[in-house]
Every structure is written in structure tokens, then in C-alpha cells.
């Protein structure tokens, strides 16, 4: 089928060149056909995303290289002992009141705590305890100081960032906050009921994510169907082998990601698209490019309704799953969060006005349309943003650590039915 296309293209060119091109295509065709029977053809060389990876321009560009990431451990260990505070703390409570509500400094204490009238009690979160009456709790200055400086000295399981030992706040600033905490002696008064995180209703998504009128993510499907028929440099198109994608991919995406022994890593749908297209049609659909997202939405969409079920039976896949579990529990970044802190220990709470969901339900809708950003995010971009948000360096989208983490997340979502593209804030 490709010979016609090739001879048309090289019409009038030197016969030698034409023979060369035809041979090349025939060679690729045979390899693909053979590979099809056992393993799908994949480009095994090179990266599946841009190198060097550069953070998205609109994202915070802070240098977080000193903190642990999913690929390295470099954050300092937790202190063993509380800092000794001998003299009474005499901080500036008014400055402390400003600091606890300052969104530019670690998201503000109000992100997780109700703190009386601090910040006008404007939509505080409820991840941590309500501190509105902490001034009556009889805590010493040393205890208050250390809870902020590094709460791990009192509770190894805490999800609170080590504000002092990670250098987000100076000792003097922590003193000011301690002085403010001591003034908190009355329950918070909320102007409106939704300001109270315990009364704020669980968010419900009512939009129809599969209606192209409501979800611009659906537009990717039209574009993907055009790409599907586009011939790459080899003369092949996706449609050459996959003429009936509706039946051929009815369940495939729900079985992804998958351990790939030839690459020694877990491949998700997006990296599979990059490597398979390169090996077959010759198209260069790097991860987190528009074409890759369009095709990923299309392939996921074809499997909509299929319950997620990933294969972790082989020893290598099981090991990848276990690594993914370890990564999900790893504390990373300046704010020292693990995935399982927000989406585990304190899931189903409010962090400021944002709802922290449980891991189940965080995978079945990706790639998803972000209404707040007017763009599609795939799961790897979502991972990247989570990391940048907690002040850790993100990894390139094709990083093997993300593969392990995605496998773990997909397994945690087993049985959830795919519904792609999703639509989220």
C-alpha cells in the first residue's frame, strides 16, 4: 500500500533514490509486521520528550534543586530533637498575623488551618487542626516554636512542612507567628457558611465531559482522526495497520500503563504513542506536544467505559508497582510532601478552597481539559505540576519514575471506568 505513495512522491527523481526509498519502506514494513505478532514495534532509542526538559514558562521558576525529587534524595534529614527555647518568645503578633495569611509564603497557614479571624477567616482549609483557640491550649513557647519550625520532632507522621528547617521562614518570623498564635483564644466567626471548611459541601462535577459543547477537550478527537490517516516519513499512517480503531482499541487504554521489558520501564499511553509512531509511521509525536495529547485523548476515549485493569503479575511489573508505591510515599520538595500526604492521609479535606481527592478517581479522566487553563493536561503533566506546586523539581514526562508512579496510581484505580477527556477546574 505504501509503494504507490512513495513512487508518487519521488516521481521524476533518480531511479536509484527511488529504489532506496522503496527498500527502506519494505524493510520497515516487514519488521513491523513481524513485531506485530509478538510485541508492538517501538523506537527503543532516545528520549520520548524534549531534552533538556524545560519547565513550562507560566509555572514558578524557583530553583528547587536542593530538595528531594522522585528521582533523588537530597533533602536534609528531620531533626531528632526540638530546638531549645530558653527565654520567653517576644515576637510581633501583628506581623505574625500577616505572615500566617500570606499566600506568597508557602501558601499560608490558612491553607490547612482555621485560625480565628486571621486572614478574615476567608476560606481556610481543614487539613490540620483548628487553631482558633490554640492560645488557651497551654502550649509552651518552645512547643509552639517547634511545631512551626519542624513538627516532625513531635510527630514523625505529620504532613506539616518543616517551615524552619527548610528555611521558608526565619527564626524571627516564626517568633512573630508564635506571638500571634498565643493571641488566638476565640472560635472563628465565618462571614458566610462556605468559609467554614467543615460545612463546605464536597464539590460535584456536573458538566458532561463527553459533550463537545461543554468540553473543548473533545475537540482533540477530530484532530486525532486526521493524524490517524496522515502518512509519516515511512509512508505508513496509523490507519495502515489500525483501520478500525473503534474495535481495535475498545479496551486498550484501560490496560495501560504497562511494563515494557525492552525499555526496562513502564510505558503509559503517551510514551507508547511517541515510540510506536516513531517506529512505524516515522512521525515524531513527543510527549506533551499537541499531537501526542490529541492521540492520547482519542485512544483513551475509544476505551471509555472500560474498567481500568493494569497488569502487575510479572515479577518486573510487580517490582515497578512497588517502586511506584515507594515514590508515592516519598517526601519531596521544599514543602516536604508525599503524594500520599495530600491524597491519602488527609484526603477528602480542604486545602484552602481546593478539595483534596482520594487517589481513586484521580486517574480515570486523564488526559483532562483544565477549564482554568483552557488546555489539556495528561497524567504526566499533572504529576509535574503537583511537584512544582510543592516546590520540588519536576522530571521530564518520560522519566521512568513517573512510569512506576503511574502504574501504582492506575492499580489504585482498578475498576474505575475510563471517561476521557475529563473536565476539571
Amino acid at each position: 500500500m505504501t509503494r504507490d505513495g512513495i513512487s508518487a512522491v519521488v516521481f521524476g527523481a533518480a531511479a536509484l533514490l527511488m529504489a532506496g526509498a522503496a527498500l527502506c519502506v519494505a524493510g520497515a514494513g516487514t519488521a513491523h509486521a513481524q513485531a506485530n505478532k509478538a510485541l508492538p514495534a517501538l523506537e527503543l532509542k532516545g528520549d520520548a520528550a524534549v531534552r533538556p526538559w524545560k519547565r513550562y514558562p507560566g509555572w514558578p521558576q524557583r530553583d528547587e534543586s536542593k530538595w528531594s525529587t522522585l528521582a533523588k534524595m537530597s533533602s536534609p534529614p528531620a531533626p531528632k530533637e526540638p530546638r531549645k527555647i530558653t527565654a520567653p518568645i517576644a515576637g510581633d503578633a501583628a506581623n505574625g498575623a500577616k505572615l500566617v495569611a500570606d499566600r506568597n509564603r508557602g501558601g499560608s497557614c490558612l491553607a490547612c488551618h482555621v485560625m480565628g479571624q486571621a486572614g478574615n477567616a476567608d476560606q481556610p482549609g481543614n487539613v490540620g487542626p483548628d487553631l482558633s483557640e490554640v492560645g488557651n491550649a497551654g502550649l509552651s513557647d518552645e512547643q509552639l516554636f517547634n511545631f512551626i519550625y519542624d513538627a516532625r520532632v513531635y510527630n514523625a507522621e505529620t504532613v506539616m512542612p518543616p517551615w524552619g528547617s527548610h528555611g521558608v521562614f526565619s527564626d524571627a518570623e516564626i517568633n512573630d507567628m508564635v506571638a500571634f498564635l498565643k493571641t488566638l483564644k476565640k472560635p472563628a466567626v465565618f462571614k458566610v457558611e462556605v468559609d467554614n471548611p467543615d460545612k463546605r459541601g464536597t464539590p460535584v462535577e456536573k458538566r458532561d465531559n463527553l459533550d463537545a459543547m461543554e468540553n473543548p477537550g473533545m475537540w482533540a478527537i477530530d484532530k486525532a482522526q486526521v493524524l490517524w490517516k496522515a502518512r509519516g516519513s515511512t509512508g505508513f499512517a496509523c490507519s495502515t495497520c489500525h483501520a478500525k480503531p473503534e474495535t481495535q482499541f475498545k479496551t486498550w487504554a484501560a490496560s495501560m500503563p504497562k511494563w515494557e521489558p525492552r525499555l526496562n520501564k513502564v510505558l503509559g499511553v503517551e510514551e507508547f504513542i511517541t515510540r510506536h509512531a516513531k517506529a512505524t509511521t516515522g512521525a515524531n509525536y513527543l510527549m506533551e506536544t499537541e499531537e501526542n495529547r490529541d492521540l492520547s485523548i482519542y485512544l483513551h476515549n475509544l476505551a471509555n467505559g472500560t474498567p481500568i485493569k493494569v497488569d502487575i503479575t510479572s515479577p518486573a511489573a510487580k517490582a515497578a508497582y512497588e517502586r511506584g508505591q515507594e515514590l508515592a510515599n516519598r517526601k519531596i520538595g521544599e514543602l516536604n510532601f508525599a503524594c500520599t500526604d495530600c491524597h491519602g492521609k488527609v484526603a477528602n479535606h480542604w486545602i484552602r478552597g481546593q478539595w483534596l481527592g482520594a487517589p481513586k478517581g484521580q486517574y480515570d479522566h486523564f488526559p483532562t481539559w483544565r477549564t482554568s487553563l483552557q488546555t489539556v493536561w495528561d497524567i504526566r503533566q499533572r504529576f509535574q505540576w503537583c511537584q512544582v506546586n510543592i516546590r520540588a523539581d519536576e522530571l521530564p514526562p518520560d522519566a521512568k519514575e513517573y512510569g512506576d508512579l503511574e502504574l501504582y496510581l492506575a492499580a489504585a484505580n482498578e475498576g474505575q471506568k475510563l471517561s476521557v477527556p475529563g473536565i476539571r477546574h
Binding site: A212, M213, P216, W219, D222, K223, V226, Q374
Partner: protein
């Protein structure tokens, strides 16, 4: 490939029926009020006119202004007395006119 407009209206209707028509045009609707990071104004680029015709006769039209959000969406009603074609057109500031059509059978 540019995003194509989306239409939603019934394929069939009874004579004299009032039908609902929904249209959505993928467009950035750059207001001309924003500045880029160097402080330069990002030039205005919006859909400034939308027209719907049925068998060549006007049904609905609108002039759009810069405050209208991206991907302008219209929902309106029309009474149909005969079979025919709804024709929709969106005019961009740059002069580009995007059109779409949908047939309806009236029994």
C-alpha cells in the same frame, strides 16, 4: 488543523415547531486589553459577528464585543415551517469568515 465550530440542533422537526439551536465557535477571543510580559498590548482578535440564516433568510445575528469569553457560545430558538438548511457564519477581526451548515427535515 483549526478547531471546527460545533452545532447542536435537531435533524427533524414538525412544521411550526420551535427548535433549540446551540452553537460554539472555538476562538481565543483576545480582548485587546491584555499586555504581554514585556508590557506590550496583545492585539485584539475576536469574532466580531455571528449570523444564522435559514434558506437564505436571517434568523439570528449578533455583534460581539471584546469582553466576551473564549469559545463564544450561542443558544437560541427558531420556528421552522419548511425543510431546509441552517447556515452559520462567524467573522473574525482579521476578516476570516468561518461557516457551517446543518440540514433539517420538516415533516
Amino acid at each position: 488543523m483549526a478547531d471546527k465550530p460545533r452545532l447542536k440542533l435537531p435533524k427533524e422537526a414538525k412544521k411550526g415547531e420551535v427548535i433549540e439551536i446551540k452553537t460554539l465557535m472555538p476562538h481565543i477571543m483576545e480582548s485587546g486589553q491584555r499586555k504581554d510580559k514585556d508590557g506590550k498590548v496583545i492585539p485584539r482578535k475576536i469574532i466580531n459577528k455571528f449570523v444564522c440564516e435559514f434558506n437564505g433568510k436571517p434568523v439570528f445575528s449578533a455583534n460581539l464585543e471584546p469582553a466576551i469569553a473564549a469559545n463564544p457560545y450561542f443558544q437560541f430558538y427558531a420556528k421552522v415551517e419548511e425543510s431546509g438548511t441552517f447556515k452559520f457564519s462567524w467573522t473574525d477581526d482579521d476578516g476570516t469568515v468561518t461557516t457551517a451548515e446543518e440540514k433539517i427535515t420538516v415533516a
